[in-house]
């Protein structure tokens, strides 16, 4: 074991891991975080806490992670390279570890153009792969990125993201390989709606033996409505929603669409379970945390294993 992370223990024991996410509130509202956490207690192995997602200012990922930790959940601390330089990031990493956080996800972050501060400077002192390298260096070599010694290194279980649906497709596996070479212990993928394309990606991943070097959690999202399906299909960069999913959402009356979205999500998980190299699932129920329990239950992933 590299860390004390519960997620690592679950994965190392060979269980299919389940993670979900909690977007911190846009205000000093600690109860909101606790309320979202309540829906996920005992349902998932770790809860991703997003870092100014979609480039909108929210309660810091670190603060919200600590709030969840206090409620007995296992926060998965997300960090984007968009908002701070390597000094601030390293300070937050050792700060997070000092507060009991042992699992994190290294990301570049959405461009500020999409958020509520489009006038802000994008920092990008380092990129997501260099962030992975930095966290690994801190953990395994006990060194800051600048080379100085770090006392009591943060033993972080290091995650990264992968989007099998972005272009150029042929770079998607190569970039995953780079993230693993940099030190990623686990991967959470972009939401999978196009399972055929995901399977093609996973075939290449397995052909290179990458699934043996790193745990790959397949990302899924329940679609709330036909409008949401259309929005994700046309408006979200790097998202691949096949027309048949949109048609299926359109085929049921409005009041039944949420239910249909959950069913599609459960069916997707069932199909993904059969894909070689899938080590678990990351359920991104955006502002819909209360549905996660039903999805995990219907997908036969409850109760969560005790490790």
């Amino acid at each position: 074991m590299r860390t004390e992370s519960r997620l690592e223990k679950i994965l190392a024991a060979g269980h299919l891991a389940v993670t979900s996410e909690c977007g911190p509130p846009r205000g000093a509202l600690p109860d909101k975080v606790r309320e979202k956490g309540k829906h996920l207690e005992g349902i998932v192995d770790a809860v991703n806490v997003t870092d100014n997602q979609t480039a909108m200012v929210r309660m810091s990922s670190l603060a919200a992670s600590v709030l969840l930790k206090q409620e007995g959940l296992n926060p998965l601390f997300q960090m984007v390279t968009r908002d701070r330089n390597r000094l601030a990031m390293q300070a937050d990493i050792i700060g997070a570890y000092s507060l009991g956080i042992d699992t994190m996800l290294c990301l570049s972050g959405d461009h500020t153009k999409f958020g509520d501060h489009p006038m802000a400077m994008n920092v990008h002192d380092i990129d997501s792969i260099q962030l992975i390298q930095m966290v690994k260096g801190m953990r395994d070599e006990g060194k800051f990125q600048g080379g100085a010694e770090l006392k009591n290194p943060p033993r972080m279980f290091i995650g990264a993201a992968a989007n099998p649906f972005a272009d150029p497709f042929e770079l998607r596996v190569l970039r995953l390989a780079k993230k693993i070479a940099a030190g990623a212990d686990f991967i959470q993928t972009q939401c999978i709606f196009n399972v055929d394309k995901f399977e093609k990606w996973m075939e290449q991943v397995c052909a290179r033996g990458l699934h043996k070097k790193c745990y790959i959690l397949a990302g899924v999202t329940p679609i709330k409505s036909l409008g949401a399906a259309r929005y994700m299909k046309t408006k979200v960069p790097g998202m691949d929603v096949p027309q048949e999913i949109v048609d299926r959402m359109a085929s049921v009356p409005k009041e039944k669409q949420a239910e249909e979205g959950v069913t599609i999500c459960v069916e997707t998980i069932e199909r993904l379970k059969k894909v070689e190299g899938v080590a678990g699932f990351h359920i991104m129920a955006i502002d819909w945390e209360e549905k996660v329990k039903e999805i995990v239950e219907r997908a036969g992933l409850l109760p969560r294993p005790q490790v």
Binding site: D127, D167, L171, L174
Partner: protein, 222 residues
């Protein structure tokens, strides 16, 4: 080249309102090439300003002059004979030229007539786009001659983010994904293996992180 765009007329008028005689100075280098502040633009702006200000009842005398190179003290010296006859200078050069005039003529107000934009190249007639951010440690040799610092919206040094779609950047269809371009070049050159290597965190000191930059060439410096 350094690219620039003319500021709105209203902003320039505000600058010049308090003055009677103004020297409008162009530059024959980059701003001429990108049609922002060369001899031709000096002429157009001078008459534009004069007319617009006359309309609002202000008669400003605008003298025109275009220097060979406004960022070079040798050429800026040419203005010595003209400077006493004016109350202020408006420069149509990039920020380097404006600052050279301010440095040379300490008691003369100087105003920029253009916004200096970026180091870029001409894509086609009338279109310029950013190509270089002067990071001081060129990595074009590793990236097939396409710069991810200047051309990737997130300055990613190890490949495209998850927002790259059909060769476009996630910020807009009018922006190429730098990494899609890099990958096409590497493939064409048979250098795909260059992508596999991890580019480590960049040292930003040569890129401005160590403060204002300077080049001292011992063999040339006096």
């Amino acid at each position: 080249m350094i690219t620039a765009e003319r500021k709105p007329l209203e902003e320039l008028i505000e600058y010049l309102k308090p003055f009677k005689r103004v020297l409008l100075v162009g530059c024959n280098e980059c701003v001429t090439v990108c049609a922002a502040g060369g001899r031709k633009e000096v002429g157009l702006l001078a008459s534009g300003l004069h007319m617009a200000m006359l309309k609002s009842g202000t008669n400003v005398e605008i003298r025109e002059h275009t220097l060979e190179r406004q960022c070079d003290p040798e050429y800026v010296n040419e203005l010595v004979s003209m400077i006493d006859g004016v109350d202020a200078v408006m420069s149509m050069a990039c920020g380097c030229g404006v600052q050279e005039i301010a440095r040379r003529f300490k008691d003369k107000p100087v105003f920029p007539a253009v916004n200096t934009k970026f180091m870029g190249a001409s894509e086609r007639q009338g279109v310029w786009s950013e190509r270089c951010q002067g990071c001081g440690d060129c990595l074009l040799g590793q990236t097939g001659g396409v710069c991810p610092i200047a051309r990737c919206a997130k300055q990613l040094m190890n490949g495209p983010c998850g927002g790259s779609t059909g060769g476009h950047c996630e910020i807009g269809d009018d922006v190429d994904c730098a990494w899609a371009l890099i990958w096409e070049r590497l493939k064409a050159l048979g250098q795909e293996e260059r992508f596999v290597e991890i580019t480590p965190a960049k040292d930003w000191r040569p890129g401005g992180g160590a403060g204002p930059r300077k080049i001292i060439r011992e063999d040339l410096a006096e």
